[in-house]
Each structure stands twice: as structure tokens, then as C-alpha cells.
Point group: C2
Chain length 576, copies 2
């Protein structure tokens, strides 16, 4: 079935809550909102009722749904959220709501790429049971989150007389976090997953390793972390990974691991110097041109595809990672292979001297590793470079579209189009819109750009992907821009990305939130209203409120406006 279509009967509910033909009010005017805004929110006569002190949630027993139900039950009874702007709601003098009853059509659907996340939720105004219906337990979790956001105040009250039918526009809605350049503790990762679930995001793309550190402890290759991690306290053990993956399941968030290779592997050289070219070299030798640097940024090292031992290590790594991370998607990196890092290696020099090319060397690598990964029943995600790099790329014939998904980050919608036009499914992380690290200047040291006489134009501050991507920039980006309907179907979704040159746990929350919330809504129900008009202006007040609720839930999302703007809706706009 089409995962975008809810499977329940929409119309049976109407007879329950509707007395007459009340016109649907505009979503803008709702006194209580859910983030991301549901696809359909039918609330003809906004009212609220009390939640009974003995309120319960009933649901089918399930390894992951049951703890989620317990969690949400505690939350709705104890959160007592006080909206910043008092919702002008009449508390209906009806019996309090005593139960939310969850039914799931197929309790056995695993949490996979493309799983059905649709649900419907009805909260009658009569005090009769609220009903949450979903095809899968994962859809039920989305509905539980929605229900929790309808509950507010003390004593707990809940919006009633409403019907929600909800289904995401895009199946892949994720966040990429880089834990190699700087380390994040397990508790940070769990908090990230928790906040993702609040925003109905479903994929944590964990960019675990890079040239800077190799924090994950792999059973078959323990030396990689022993020598490549930043330190004993900055590792992820097998138990840590299990913890993150299981926690994700309870929150409906898949964890997709990325072990970036063959570039971005300097940290591997601590354990296996023989398989890494140009490791531990200064990244940009004096007087050499930009194309002749040894890495995209400080931290050099690329796996040598011509060394047999490379595959012995890679195979162990892939095997362990696929065992630790059950998800169907496996991210194998393949971004930013830099020519000179390979060219400095004697074995590669020999290959090139016999009329070999760097692209052939990458093809050898891909052709040796990709089949192994797919043999483990994985779909492989690569960064777009493997297909689109100007200099070092592989023939599409080596990248079967049924096994390969490409993640785009350059050149905005143009590369998205190139990828889908080549027949590949795509995940959109355009750095012009979705990179959360941009706009904080250059992290590279000794940059004379910052030592110019006063009056020198400061430009974009020397952040390669500056300026800072505001929540509005993210919200307004249409990831299928310029694509026809057939092309659009290959766009699986998107991921905001936090590269960690200038981030670690001290700034994780405010760098990510509420900007990731902006993407979450755009990918869930879109960035336009019923009339097709951009709804970012209307979204501002809702996002302000949602941001404050996230903060009270322990997520340090940054403020987007003075509190005054929240309390005076519309008064902080450019146009009245």
C-alpha cells in the first residue's frame, strides 16, 4: 500500500463530533498547535476538557510501543505545560477524559525505511475515550506525540472535539551528527533521539568516524578505537551503541551508521598506518594551490585501495558495524576523495604511471566494498561525490540504483536533479539550506582574514557555507524544487547536518533546535498552507511556542525571537 495514505475510515468519525455543517477554521487560528503541523487538523469548535486523574492509555503489548505508552502516560499526567499565550479555550463542563485507546492494524511491522507512520487521532468533546488508530506501532508513536502536545495546563487539560488524520510527506526525515571531529557523550545522543521523536523525525544518521577520531569500539578491530579515539572516556562501546539503537526503537528513530571511507580516514592510521595514504601530514603545504592540498580540511588520510590489507580491515569494520546497527541503510561515506593524498603514495604513483586513473582507484575500492555491504542485506547510502565529483568518481554501472541511495550536499537543487535523473533515490542535505554548522566563521587557525584593518569588508565571515542557515531558510526550502512528479518520487526526504568542527555537547542542542524542527515540519506536512501559500510567517508563532515547550522538556533549543514577540503575535513581523 502507499505509505502516505492512512488506512482508517475518515468519515465514521465525523458523525461523532459534528452536529452541523461547521466550516473548517483556518489552521492559523487554532489556539493549541502540534509541531510538526498535522496534515489534517479538524477542530471546528475549539474547546478543552480535563484529563482524568486516573487517565490511562491502552495499547497492544509490544516491545517498543509499551515503554513508549508508559512514557507518554507519565508525560501527559505530569508535564503541565503552560502555553506562553493562554489558549482562549473554554474548558467544557463534560466528564474528564479517562482513556486514550490505541489500535494498531499490524503490530508486527518493523521500524524500517518507508514504514507506514500514518495515524488518526480523535478526541471527542463528550468525555468518551480518545481514539488513536495506526497501521503500525511506529505510527502509533507519532500519534502519541501529537496527543501529548494537545495536553497542557494544571490540572492537565486536553484539546477536544478534534480529529487529526496525519501522514508524512517524506519517509526519510533525519539529522546527521558528526561525532568524530568532537565527541558527544551517550547521554547527548539519547537526548538528541528524544528530541527527534518529539519532532517526528525518524532517522539519526550517525557520522561516527572521520579523520579526527575513531570513537566506536569494534569487536573485530578494537585497535581502531584504542588508538584512534580521543581518549578512554571518548569512546562508544558495543553496549553504548546497543543503548542508542534500542533507545531509538522506543522513540521510533532509526539509527543509520556512517563509517566514512575511503577518504576522511586519517584516524585509522593510528592503528594501521600501512593502509592509509598521506596520514598525519600538514593538510595544505606551503605555496601549493588549493587543488593540491592533501585533505578538504586539516586532518589528512585516505584508505589505500591498492593495499590488500585495506580490505581485510574494511571487511571487519563493515561486518561489525552491520551487526551493531540493524538498520537496512548503511552509510559508506565516499565524500571528498582528494587527489593529492593518494598521489603522494608510492603504490598509487606506480598505478598512475601505468596509465591508471584516480577514478579507477576509487572504482576498485567501491567495487570491492559495495558488494560486501549489500551481501549483508544493506542498502548503501553514499555522499553524492561518488557519482558527481569533478575529478574522482565511479561509473554509474558500479552503483546499482536498487542498492544505492545518494545523499546530496552541493549545488542546491541542481545536484538533487542530477541524481534523480541518473535514476537514484536521493536524501537531501544541501549545504545551502540544511547545514547547521555554517556561519560561525573559519575554524582553521592562523587565518589572516580576521586580522585586516578596520573597514575591510567582512563578507560572509569566511565560513565556507555561510551565512548561518536560519530556521526560515530551512523551513522554506522545497527539496523537490524544479523536479517533475516522477523525479520527485525519488526524493526520499532530507537531513539537516551538524558537522562538528565548532560544535560538541556544549552547543549541540541550540545548534540543532529549533532549526531541525523547521525541517521536520517542512518534510512532514510541508511549508505551505491549504491555499498553497508559504506559511513561514504563520509558523513563527507556532515555532516560538514549540521551542519553549522543548526547553521545558529539557532540550536547550535556542530562542528565535524576544519573548515579547510571542506574547504579541504578529507585532514582530516585517509586514503587519
Amino acid at each position: 500500500m502507499d505509505y502516505r495514505k492512512p488506512s482508517f475510515s475518515f468519515f465514521s468519525f465525523f458523525t461523532i463530533i459534528l452536529c452541523s455543517n461547521i466550516p473548517q477554521i483556518s489552521a492559523v487560528e487554532y489556539p493549541i498547535n502540534v509541531w510538526p503541523k498535522p496534515t489534517t487538523f479538524f477542530w471546528p469548535n475549539p474547546q478543552a476538557i480535563l484529563l482524568a486523574g486516573n487517565f490511562t492509555i491502552s495499547a497492544p503489548e509490544h516491545r517498543y510501543l509499551t515503554p513508549a505508552v508508559d512514557r507518554y502516560l507519565r508525560q501527559v499526567l505530569m508535564e503541565h505545560h503552560l502555553p506562553l499565550v493562554n489558549p482562549p479555550l473554554n474548558l467544557k463542563s463534560a466528564p474528564p477524559l479517562t482513556a486514550l485507546v490505541i489500535t494498531v492494524a499490524d503490530v508486527n511491522s518493523p521500524l524500517t525505511h518507508g514504514v507506514n507512520e500514518s495515524y488518526s487521532l480523535a478526541v471527542p468533546s463528550s468525555g468518551e475515550n480518545a481514539i488513536l488508530t495506526a497501521q503500525t506501532v511506529w505510527g502509533a508513536m507519532r500519534g502519541l506525540e501529537t496527543f501529548s502536545q494537545l495536553v497542557y495546563s494544571s490540572p492537565s487539560s486536553v484539546a477536544c472535539g478534534l480529529y487529526i488524520s496525519d501522514v508524512p510527506l517524506f519517509m526519510h526525515r533525519g539529522i546527521m551528527l558528526d561525532t568524530s571531529r568532537n565527541y558527544y557523550g551517550v547521554k547527548d545522543l539519547l537526548r538528541l533521539v528524544k528530541a527527534m521523536s518529539m519532532n517526528k523525525l525518524n532517522v539519526f544518521h550517525w557520522h561516527i568516524t572521520d579523520s579526527h577520531s575513531f570513537p566506536v569500539v569494534l569487536p573485530s578491530e578494537p585497535e581502531l578505537a584504542r588508538k584512534g579515539a580521543y581518549g578512554e572516556s571518548m569512546k562508544y562501546t558495543a553496549a553504548d551503541v546497543r543503548n542508542v539503537v534500542e533507545f531509538g526503537m522506543e522513540y521510533g528513530v532509526r539509527v543509520v551508521p556512517e563509517i566514512d571511507m575511503p577518504a576522511h580516514t586519517g584516524s585509522w592510521a593510528e592503528a594501521y598506518p600501512e593502509i592509509v595514504t598521506c596520514a598525519n601530514m600538514f593538510w595544505w603545504p606551503a605555496e601549493s594551490d588549493w587543488p593540491n592540498r592533501l585533505a578538504a580540511e586539516p586532518g589528512t588520510g585516505q584508505l589505500n585501495p591498492l593495499h590488500p590489507k585495506t580490505y581485510q580491515v574494511v571487511k571487519n569494520v563493515v561486518h561489525d558495524v552491520a551487526t551493531m546497527f540493524p538498520d537496512q541503510l548503511y552509510h559508506a561515506g565516499a565524500d571528498e576523495v582528494v587527489p593529492n593524498c593518494w598521489k603522494v603514495d608510492p603504490s598509487i604513483q606506480t598505478f598512475l604511471s601505468k596509465n591508471g586513473t584516480l577514478s579507477q582507484i576509487l572504482e576498485i575500492f567501491v567495487n570491492t566494498t559495495l558488494p560486501y555491504i549489500t551481501s549483508l542485506n544493506r542498502t548503501v547510502v553514499y555522499w553524492e561525490d561518488v557519482l558527481l565529483d569533478a575529478e574522482i568518481k565511479v561509473s554509474p554501472s558500479l552503483l546499482p540504483p536498487e542498492n544505492v541511495i545518494l545523499q546530496t550536499w552541493n549545488n542546491g537543487p541542481n545536484n538533487t536533479k542530477k541524481i534523480v535523473d541518473s535514476g537514484y533515490r536521493v536524501i537531501v542535505s544541501s549545504s545551502d539550506f540544511y547545514y547547521l554548522d555554517c556561519g560561525h566563521g573559519d575554524f582553521v587557525g592562523n587565518n589572516s582574514k580576521y586580522n585586516q584593518p578596520p573597514g575591510t569588508p567582512q563578507g560572509d565571515g569566511d565560513s565556507w557555507c555561510g551565512p548561518f542557515k536560519t530556521w526560515q531558510t530551512i523551513y522554506n526550502y522545497d527539496i523537490t524544487y524544479g523536479l517533475n512528479e516522477a523525479e520527485s518520487k525519488l526524493v526520499l526526504g532530507g537531513e539537516v547536518a551538524l558537522w562538528s568542527e565548532q560544535a560538541d555537547s556544549t552547543v549541540m542542542d541550540p545548534r540543532i533546535w529549533p532549526r531541525a524542527s523547521a525541517m521536520a515540519e517542512a518534510l512532514w506536512s510541508g511549508n505551505r498552507d491549504e491555499t498553497g501559500k508559504s506559511r513561514y510567517a504563520e509558523a513563527t508563532d507556532r515555532l516560538n511556542e514549540w521551542r519553549y515547550r522543548m526547553v521545558t522538556r529539557g532540550i536547550y533549543a535556542e530562542p528565535i525571537q524576544p519573548l515579547w514577540c510571542v506574547k504579541n503575535p504578529g507585532m514582530c513581523n516585517t509586514v503587519h
Copy 2:
């Protein structure tokens, strides 16, 4: 005496630690560093000794120094800081250090503008007592901070065989925080003061009120906060203010209050609508030009200088604030008086129709309020606008330089020069260098800038003072740029400023630190090495280390580089 000159004998110490003519090693190579770098750091033979388990600090009894000594004693015994890069130091087999002995020449000097903060610190390598000598208890606190940064590891060790003679270049080294646009809890303010003291900053400029909220509860005018604060939980009571001021004294940080007026006073209108013009109006009416807006940003309202009641309220406010904040400096705002906000008022229209000018109206306000503030033995700080605004400004004859200091924020060094050339002392907060809020885009809602087709150049991201000011930008700024020696003497120092449209307690630490640390060093000992060369490249590794130490001390300073860069000094530079 000149506060920049230490008063102790430099040379008597040399005979203690020097056996022969060892050349002074470059500061760059020191294995343990102090931030901000001291003026003179003489450490010919870097070694360390253990801190004795019964280590003590002796100092003259003093209301504020005594708790500071207790605090530092606990800290050096229990911090056990582990440097990111192990200091290559021999632990000398000498008796452990058992005491730091503090002598203060004048224990009665109060913490005032221009107080002597110099100190000298000697830590012998023999195990003999360490000696801290200062002119004032405030200088002793600076020396204690320095000593604490020389202690590391577990068991606690301390750098020894060194002599430090230290004195700040500028007497005014501050941070401005806006608590009106968004609220910060008292515990956030205390943490800010604590972190300032770690960085030897000495002025917390508290921009308490603005158009958005009036959080401070004033005994004579309780209605202002009762109606103008964001809420019951978002007020500063008299006890809160006492707490912050007293805490500041124990940390050697003065608290300078700012009640901005006559503009930026919309929040006053909640209690006294009759004294505020244009309150609660939409800030930029449709189809009007930028010069015709009603406020610099959303949140309108200016005190009406022609209404007698204005002065009744202002006098009460000034009296209460001067009572609650003992500091000699009183910041009276006076920035961004917007013509149209006054022009919409009938009484002002009448005045203007009789050939009066807006500048005359401001002059009436200044001439009525300034003498009252100075009558309370205060030196008044105004934003530069009062003198330099293009349209609404007052005659210098109303601003006696002996009573008035101007704070510059526009036009980089040009306005600094204009101010000192007019004979005023100046505090530098140039928005091109010292504004910490820049570079995060526009907070104003419904900004179509963010809804352009992909490919539209993003420019500086529509942040009015973008790009983001990196720590290097801040570090490299010379606040006396273009001034001769006489002019430079009028530059009291500088303040980084955090305006809070897009900040509150969730992001306070990382927005401020370590960028404020960059200014702290530039204003304490400068941004150049002994040879006059910019030292920002060398400062990178030191700031990385200092940032990590701040984090372990509970200050969530943001990372400036991958940890890899710290562990591989020099490898992350642009030039090797």
C-alpha cells in the same frame, strides 16, 4: 599613581629563582598557560612541584577577599585539571608547596572604576612559600585566578620557578548583557560573573530594561515590573540585585546598571501609558519608508520629555537604581531615539509646530535627568548616539566630559575617534567587532528574504551586523586604532555585547564564551607578542586549552576547533 604600573619590586625576586643568566624563553613555548596571558611571565626553567595536602592560602582579612581566598583554596585542591596536551614538565623532587602568602598594600581600596588591579606572583621551585603581592584586594583576586590556572593534574601540581608581573592595559573590560528582550535567571547572571572573573573581566554592564520587558522590581515604582515584566517568575527583586552585586564584589566584578531611556521604553507604558509615546504600535507601518518607522526594531515606545510625569517616574527609577547598584558608573542609555515615535504624539507635534526640534526635545530630557543622576555622585555612561546621531542629538555643552562617558557601537574606529576628539572618555563596543549576537540572521518575522528561489545569493544572511564575529575578529581588534597617544588615553576599555533578540539562558554561555575571553586577553595584555607581531595564531592553542578548562569549570563555552587540532598543535593552521 598610574594604575598600569605595578608597585612592587621586580628585581628582588630575580635573585631568588635565577641561578645564572638563562635567556627568557618565548611565551609561545610555555607548557602551562594563563588566560589572559600575563604582561610578564618569566619562567626560565619550566618545572612543577606538588601542592601539599595541607596547602593553605594566607591573606589579610577582608569582606570580599576572604571568601575569594576560601573559594580559590577549594579550587586548587579539588579541580585536578587535566590539560588536553600533557605539559612536558618535570615534577621537581622538592618539598611540596605548602602555602601561598598574599600581601596587600592597601586593603581599603574599594572596587571602583580605575582601581589598581596589578599584582605579582612568584612560585619558587624550592618549595618555599609562593608569594602574591598586590596593591589592592582586587589585584590579589586577579593573582589568585592566575595561581589557580597554574595548578593542574592529580595529585595537584603547580608550575614553579616562575615570576609573573601583571597589570591590565585597559581599566574597563566588560560584558553587556540584555535581560529585557529575553529573560535570564539570577543563577545565569551569577555564572556569568564567575566566568568573567576567570577571564579577569571587571565590569558586568547589565542592560536591564528595554521596550520588551521591565524585569527589575523598584521599590518606588513597583508597577513598572508588576506590569512590564514578562511574568512573576521573570523578575529581579531587590534581593536578587543585592545577590548579583555582592557576588560580583566577591569576584572582583563591578555591576553597572543600564536603564535605557528615553527610547527603548515601551515596557514602561504597561504601568504608565501617559508618559510613553507610540507604545504598542506596529513598529514599521505598511508602505512607510525605513526612516519613518516607529522603532529601531519591533517593540515601540519612547518616554515623552514634554510630559511632567515622565520626570517624576524617571527620578524615582534613577534613585532606586542608584541605591541598588553602588557602582560609580550609571548607564543611562540614550541610544536610537527614533523621530516618528515622538512625532506621533500630540504634545510633541505642538512643540514642533512652534519651530521646536526633536533635538531640543532630547536636550530637555538630558538636561533634566543628567544633573539628577550626577547629583547622586554618579558618572553617566551614554551610548554614543546622544552626541553622534545624525538627526536627534544634544549639544556637547550639556554633556560635561568630567561627568559623562560615551559608549561607541557604530562605525568602528571612526566613531571612537570622533568621541575622544570631542574630549570624552570612551568605552568601545563596536558592532563590527564586539557584538556577540551578529550572524544568526534576522529575528523579525515574515521576512521574505528567506523565501527566495534556490540560487539566490544569501549574502550575509540578513543579520544587520553580520557576519558572526569570530573570536579572532574580536581578538585582533585594536580599540585604539588610528588614535595618537593622547587620544588613546581616553579609551577606557571595551565591552562585548550580547543583545538578546535571539539569546537567553539556553545559549548564554556558548554565545559569550570563549569569544569574550578573546577580548579579555586583548584588553588585559594585548593581542601582540614581544616583537609587536599579532599573536592570534599562537593564541589559538592557548584558547582551545582555556576553553576546555572553562567547560570543566561549568561554563559551556563553545568549541573553536576539533579536539584533534588541540592535540596536534599547529596542524590546523592555514599556514604551517
